[in-house]
Amino acid sequence: MATLLDPVEPAAVEAGSRPEIVGRNPWALAARRLRRNRLAVAALGLFLLIVVVCLAAPLYANYVAHVNPLAPNLNGTTVINGKVVPVMQQGGGTLKLGETPIGPTWDPHHYFLGADNLGRDVASLILYGGRSSLLIGIGSAVICCVVATVIALIAGFFGGVTDSILSRIMDVIWAFPVFLLLFSISTELLTHSNGFQFGPVHVSATSLWLPTVVIAFIYLPYVYRPVRGQVLSVVQKEFVEAAIASGATNARLVFSEVLPNVVSTVIVLLPLMVATTILTEVALSFLSIGVQPPNVSWGTIISDGEDLLYTRPWVSLAPGIMIVLTVLALNVLGDGVRDALDPRAKLRVEG
């Protein structure tokens, strides 16, 4: 496939036309390389599909599954193979202990993936849950990476006391009892059911921004330290010395020389951080300090499905699969973006 740098055919020149050398900026070049990377495009497609499907949750719940997705439905019934079946089924034997929700019916109109412990349609829950998890997972990963990179650039570049202080602050953050903090904040918020007012911003008790911001905060050191390490390394390199010698300002040094060389580390970390933040949200839900009712997230669904892991594994499995797919898509996309941005990477998947 011809690229811009291929020599122009002599015939074309002799034909009398003067080929235009069109200069393109690096971003456009990168975009082109990305477009040609079929795997990355597929990953982007998968990710967008997941997002769209989750956004369409109300449509699914109303028009396809015909359920009120978030309300308990313990006494409800559904139709399987033409027979009316109760959603929650009592145990058998002589003792008849326990109530088990129905398993997957593989019928999108009737509890496709079965019901959860409250008789709710798992398929609808997964879609609604995706909205919360994607928001929290991606939001916190992005905030974390951006903020941490900025701080790391400052620390690594200026060094000395600045670096010491910033790194020690990061140590404090890493050693911080975040579960206690979250517990405290969420108890505080929950017991003020009208939420809090911070100037123009109203934070309600069940806002998703709380877990997003706190999770971003928790992982600042995790992105900060590797990026700072890279910055320290880059700052020693010759081209930086050269730039300093040629009289570049600090800002120019940071943004034109240092940043591009650490950005690939950040790009590798970002989708991995999305996996980490989504899983942190799952862990927080396990400890009941994550997403609160009436919101649901993949973490709350997995948590609720814990008690049913043996008899109804799909309740926990389905959100887990969604997490795997999201993480996979973002990581492959991330690889593609990294390849596209790095002009020296010879080992690119051929488009």
Binding site: S164, D171, W174, L279
Partner: protein
């Protein structure tokens, strides 16, 4: 070097102080928290509550209470748990630490070795089917919630396949100290080690692979290749050290956090009564003394781990000086 050590020690003390003060503040700002209530037994009369407050100094100003608690933690080591006054916190943590250290060290060895192997394999075998397969395995590992993996592991090894030759060696859940029985210690930790490391292998393998691939394009690597060295030698001897910065940074953070009680879910699911397990219990009953002790203990290890990582940078990239 000496100034580095002295400076870091000083910072350690400062960090421990800041962390403990913040923990103290957050605890007392949480609504519904009243240590006197926990200490006074159930259904105490208001008079009993008042007497408990007085005898535990709970009606004194917060800074005084904080100093009292720090004194009991470090000097007299007589700090008592709020949820069980018969328990001394410091010996409790000392007893729990070996379990956590055993769990974390073992898992760390496993994940470092496997991650390096996977990362190198994926980078070397880029372009073959091995790379994407390894990377997908890695991604599944980091996307699977620990609580799931551990639970499934228990289900299989303790439950359905417990009697098969595959898992009949698995002892009942819980931690046996090395002194009591080295073989039970080992056998009881194998599955928890694997479960804990699955989470990290994938992350580290991907990070390492990405850094290896970048470094491959550097000039010194081209030189090595031009000299006729074979690819594996090039990768292992020439590029590995340069690619380890991110790997080592993350390792310091993760190892420190896990020793500090971060392996909560693994410890709870496998019944290993380590520091994470203590944290979980203390958290449920809002037992401030135990939370404080764990947090301070953890802070020390985290700062220590980061200091070691900073020293390691100097070895990995000699141009960098530890600050």
């Amino acid at each position: 070097m000496l100034t580095f050590i002295v400076r870091r020690l000083a910072w350690t003390v400062l960090v421990m102080f800041v962390i403990s003060a913040l923990t103290f503040l957050i605890f007392f700002k949480t609504p519904g928290v009243d240590p006197a209530r926990a200490l006074a037994g159930r259904s105490p009369s208001p008079q009993t509550l008042a007497e408990i407050r007085a005898s535990f100094g709970l009606n004194r100003p917060l800074p005084i209470q904080y100093l009292l608690m720090m004194k009991q933690l470090f000097v007299t080591r007589s700090l008592v748990s709020y949820s069980n006054q018969g328990l001394l916190v410091v010996p409790e943590i000392a007893a729990a630490a070996p379990a956590t250290l055993s769990l974390v060290f073992g898992a760390a060895v496993l994940w470092v070795v496997l991650a390096i192997a996977m990362g190198i394999a994926a980078a070397l075998l880029r372009g073959t089917w091995v790379d994407p397969v390894l990377m997908i395995l890695a991604l599944i590992g980091i996307s699977a919630p620990v609580v799931w993996v551990g639970t499934l592991a228990n289900y299989v090894s303790q439950g359905s396949l417990h009697n098969s030759f595959l898992f009949s060696w698995v002892p009942p859940l819980g931690y046996t100290s090395f002194a009591t029985s080295p073989s039970l210690w080992f056998k009881g930790l194998i599955i928890p080690w694997i479960t804990l490391s699955i989470l990290y292998i994938g992350f580290y393998a991907r990070v390492l692979r990405a850094n290896l691939l970048e470094v491959q394009n550097e000039d010194f690597v081209r030189t090595a290749r031009a000299k006729g060295l074979r690819e594996p030698r090039v990768v292992v001897r020439h590029t590995l050290r340069n690619s380890m910065i991110t790997f080592v940074s993350l390792f310091g953070l993760d190892f420190g956090a896990l020793v500090a009680g971060g392996a909560i879910i693994t410890e709870v699911v496998f019944g290993i009564h380590g520091v994470g397990f203590l944290t979980y219990e203390a958290f449920q009953s809002l037992d401030l003394p135990t939370i404080m002790a764990v947090v301070v203990f953890g802070a020390f290890f985290i700062v220590l781990a980061n200091a070691l990582v900073d020293i390691a940078y100097a070895w990995l990239d000699p141009r960098v000086r530890p600050t």
